[in-house]
């Protein structure tokens, strides 16, 4: 009796639910076949955190932003060794069709495109630009770039003209304004939907509409048919978020993904054997260095730092750890950056020279020091162990202390670590930006406390020098002094490895490592 009662209840609820679901079967009509047009699937690692241009600061979020938004100006593209790479020195019109600079280099006047429209149908006008810049100014993450651009005011002169005044001449201004952070947002949409709308939705004028974004699984984009520069050639782009690197490689290998990023260096050789795939491995601006705290003994002595630079197995690091998907670093500035020079780089693997320098510094019997290793990157660990073994040969004992990534970032900011490995990619491909953060005396990321009055003076001089050639000359002098001073051991510059299907065309490498979907075709 009891059992029959239960059965009746269960049956009734099943019937109720079935009735509720009737006619709403999600796959009755749709799954007959793929929609018309060209579609691609990209395998990414992380799911991203926000779609708000001013708050985005991870690779996936930046990619979402660049698909949905346009900026005032953008970077040019050049051919190098038959491949397309961004030319960050050349700035091209985007939403601004032209711009003028005043003689005192402090006022920029941008004229907007006549035909540019947001995806909502609203025209891209001067008010939208003013609103968008204001949005960056008030943001959490992007506000420091606003400060760095030294924007004093931004006003709409008329519907299509924007005037931006700087507090002082700034050669980085145009470079910064071309970044995804300064995307132009449709203020009407935000006013309508509320301030939080931008976190999970877009309100741009860009080539793709975001159909779906779920950081746990995928992001789906469809081409904006009314894009003012003409609709994109790929009609649907799906980004799949796949944490496990070996799975990204397998998906690409099997043809289930048309493109995969963040491919482990050890898989590159195997993937290259697959005739259906192209593997692009471009020298990126991501540098890896071992930094010393120059305020702490014995690293306050340049001779000690130089000695260690002579004890590094440079070839092993590039070849054995990175499987040649990296290149030896020879300046504090990445070799792709305009104004780079390797002058002063005399270091090579030479233990005798290292011992001699230690002796000159008064450390003939060696010393021991604490080295902090942040987690999250296998190659850092391999590098640290190799370096530890080499240093032992010159009597230097390196105590490796492991730390989780979040803790490491926090510890770094205390300026108290004795020695550590760190990576860096400058958002703006310019030695002024780069050195200003990392090795300028007051640089906010100068965690090794490097101080050199000469370097500081050169950097300050360059900062106000309007002529690029002269500016680069000053940066070159600064680089040479730094390299000789050796506050860092230069390890390597990573390659950006992207695997893709042979028939996928139009991939352009950008130093910020963000892929722009608009140029892709199939």
């Amino acid at each position: 009796m009891k059992k029959t009662k239960w059965l009746a209840v269960v049956l009734a609820s099943v019937m109720l639910l079935t009735a509720a679901g009737c006619g709403t079967n999600a796959n009755q009509a749709v799954n007959a076949g793929a929609a018309a047009g060209k579609e691609i699937v990209l395998a990414y690692s992380d799911g991203g955190q926000t779609m708000d241009p001013a708050e985005a600061n991870d690779l996936t979020s930046d990619t979402l932003v660049l698909a949905a938004y346009d900026q005032l100006i953008t970077y040019g593209v050049k051919k190098a060794n038959g491949a397309d790479i961004a030319n960050t020195e050349e700035l091209k019109p985007m939403l601004a069709k032209e711009w003028k600079v005043s003689d005192d280099q402090k006022t920029y006047t941008f004229t907007l495109q006549d035909n540019a429209k947001f995806q909502s149908g609203n025209p891209v006008n001067a008010q939208a630009v003013v609103w968008s810049l204001d949005h960056v100014k008030n943001s959490k993450s992007g506000s420091f770039l606003y400060g760095m651009a030294e924007i004093e005011s931004c006003t709409a002169k008329d519907d299509k003209t924007v005037e931006i005044k700087l507090s002082q001449p700034n050669h980085l201004f145009l470079q910064i304004i071309a970044m995804y952070t300064f995307s132009i947002i449709d203020p009407a949409v935000v006013k309508d939907k509320g301030a939080d709308y931008l976190k999970n939705n877009e309100a741009g004028s860009g080539p793709y509409k975001v159909e779906k974004w779920d950081p746990a699984t995928e992001a789906v984009f469809t081409a904006n048919p009314n894009y003012w520069q003409g609709a994109a050639k790929i009609s649907k782009v799906t980004m799949k978020f796949i944490k496990e690197a070996s799975n990204r490689v397998t998906l690409l290998d099997k043809g289930d993904a048309d493109m995969a990023i963040e491919i482990p260096a050890q898989n590159v050789a195997d993937l290259k054997k697959n005739a259906n795939l192209t593997v692009r491995s471009d020298a990126s601006n991501r540098i890896l260095y071992l930094a010393f705290n120059t305020k702490v003994k014995p690293f306050d002595n340049p001779k000690v730092r130089q000695a260690i630079s002579y004890a590094i197995p440079y070839d092993k690091l590039v070849h054995d750890v990175m499987y040649d998907q990296a290149k030896q670093m020879k300046s504090a500035v990445a070799s792709n950056t305009p104004g780079f020079t390797d002058a002063g780089f005399v270091y090579k693997y030479d233990l005798d020279k290292a011992k001699q320098l230690l002796k000159e510094a008064g450390y003939e019997n060696g010393f021991s020091f604490d080295f902090t290793l942040g987690s999250g990157f296998q190659d850092w660990q391999d590098d640290a162990v190799l370096i530890q073994a080499e240093l032992a040969k010159i009597g230097v004992k390196m105590n490796i202390q492991n730390m989780a990534r979040a803790q490491f970032l926090e510890a770094q900011k205390t300026h108290n670590l004795t020695a550590y490995i760190s990576k860096w990619t400058s958002f703006v491909n310019d030695p002024g930006y780069h050195l200003g953060f990392l090795l300028y005396g007051k640089g906010t990321s100068n965690y090794g406390n490097y101080q050199n009055a000469q370097v500081d003076k050169l950097w300050e001089q360059a900062n106000v020098e309007p002529d690029q050639a002269k500016r680069n000359e000053l940066y070159k002098q600064a680089q040479q002094i730094i390299t000789t001073d050796a506050p860092w051991v230069y390890l390597y510059e990573y390659n950006r490895v992207v695997g893709m299907n042979k028939n996928l065309k139009g991939y352009v490498f950008y130093p910020d490592e963000i892929i722009r979907f608009y140029s892709l075709s199939k």
């Binding site: 079967n25 796959n27 955190q49 779920d214 746990a216 799906t238 944490k243 979040a406 990321s445």
Partner: protein
């Protein structure tokens, strides 16, 4: 019985409060600064400081705790900054994925482990027993990440029997209409055969991967408690009165041997719901496990606290249900 349930629930309250306090303090005392993660590596200190102030991270700890409790009191678990969603909203989308995976893997484990346990007990020291013992040992010893990758390599990359390890459903297939969030159940209820086939084919590998540990434990448990029971008088009596061996084993012995197994299953269930992190990561399964790992890496306090709270409550409810099921299986157990 109702009195017993109420009493148990009442006793759980101090436990839950303790968990809230400990998680809150731990997540704040351990190093790692959310403001640094939000601002990004290249942000200068003043920007980071402003974020700290705006997030209330500069307030004294007791004040932060007070705000948190007040917020919880209004039924709000907070907002996860790293997804931009309310924590409750994130759980609502992620939790069904984990629950479905756990249920299917428990189902596989039970279907496999109980017969194996029974057979190795009834044929003690036979070849079957030895093989099952070795397999159990392997099941408990094989690291899940390794097994997951091997399964993917064999069944997806080499044989092509399994779909790409990209979540719960294939490319260009719509998830079934949302009723419970469990894709298999939803597809059945809406008669969506396309989605049913897809969801089953996607869940098989991760569920097998996740079930191995449970199979190993449960099979050993069933074997040992069966061995204990088989020697008892009532089993001899059942045999003596001429019942077929099948009935003796499955109806008389097994039911009595199930109690300790049930305890283990309950614990395993609670554990899997919160701990399928590795399986979820390897199979890109969009569940709470991978969500919580991301939150920890991003030092995102709200989801970490919310998840600990929710899983503590779940664990407690599962244990309570297991205790109640004892009463159903063994009429001698009474709840006063």
């Amino acid at each position: 019985m109702i009195r017993y349930v109420l009493k148990r629930l009442l006793y759980a309250i101090p436990g839950v409060l303790g968990i809230i306090l400990i998680t809150f303090i731990l997540s704040r005392v351990l190093p790692g600064d959310p403001a640094v993660m939000i601002a990004g590596e290249q942000a200068p200190p003043d920007v980071i400081e402003n974020i700290r102030i705006s997030m209330g991270l500069k307030d004294p700890l007791y004040l932060q705790f007070f705000h948190y409790i007040r917020q919880l009191g209004s039924g709000n678990l907070g907002t996860a900054w790293h997804t931009g969603h309310l924590v409750a909203q994130d759980f609502a989308t992620r939790f069904p994925a984990t629950l479905e995976l756990t249920l299917v893997s428990m189902f596989i484990a039970v279907c496999f482990a109980i017969p194996v346990g029974v057979i190795s007990a009834t044929r003690k020291n036979s070849a079957v027993d030895h093989v099952s013992r070795v397999l159990s040992l392997l099941g408990a010893a094989i690291p899940i990440f390794w097994l997951g990758l091997v399964l993917i390599y064999i069944f997806y990359a080499k044989l092509g029997w399994s779909p790409a390890p990209m979540g719960r459903i294939g490319q260009d297939i719509n998830p079934p209409t949302h009723l419970t969030g469990l894709y298999i159940l939803d597809s059945l209820l809406t008669g969506d055969m396309v989605a049913l086939k897809e969801s089953i084919s996607h869940i098989i590998l991760p569920a097998i991967c996740l079930s191995t540990g449970t199979i190993a434990i449960v099979a050993r448990m069933v074997r040992s408690s069966m061995l204990e029971v088989i020697g008892l008088d009532y089993v001899r009596t059942a045999r003596a009165k001429g019942l077929p061996e099948r009935i003796v084993i499955y109806k008389h012995a097994l039911v009595n041997a199930l109690i300790p197994t049930l305890t283990i299953l309950g614990l395993q269930f609670g554990y899997l719901i919160g701990g399928a992190v590795i399986t979820e990561t390897i199979f890109s399964w969009p569940g709470v496990g991978s969500y919580i790992t991301e939150s920890i890496l991003a030092t995102d306090y709200a989801p970490i606290q919310g998840f600990t709270l929710v899983s503590a409550i779940l664990y407690m409810l599962i244990n309570l249900s297991v205790d109640l099921i004892y009463g159903l299986i063994d009429p001698r157990i009474r709840y006063e």
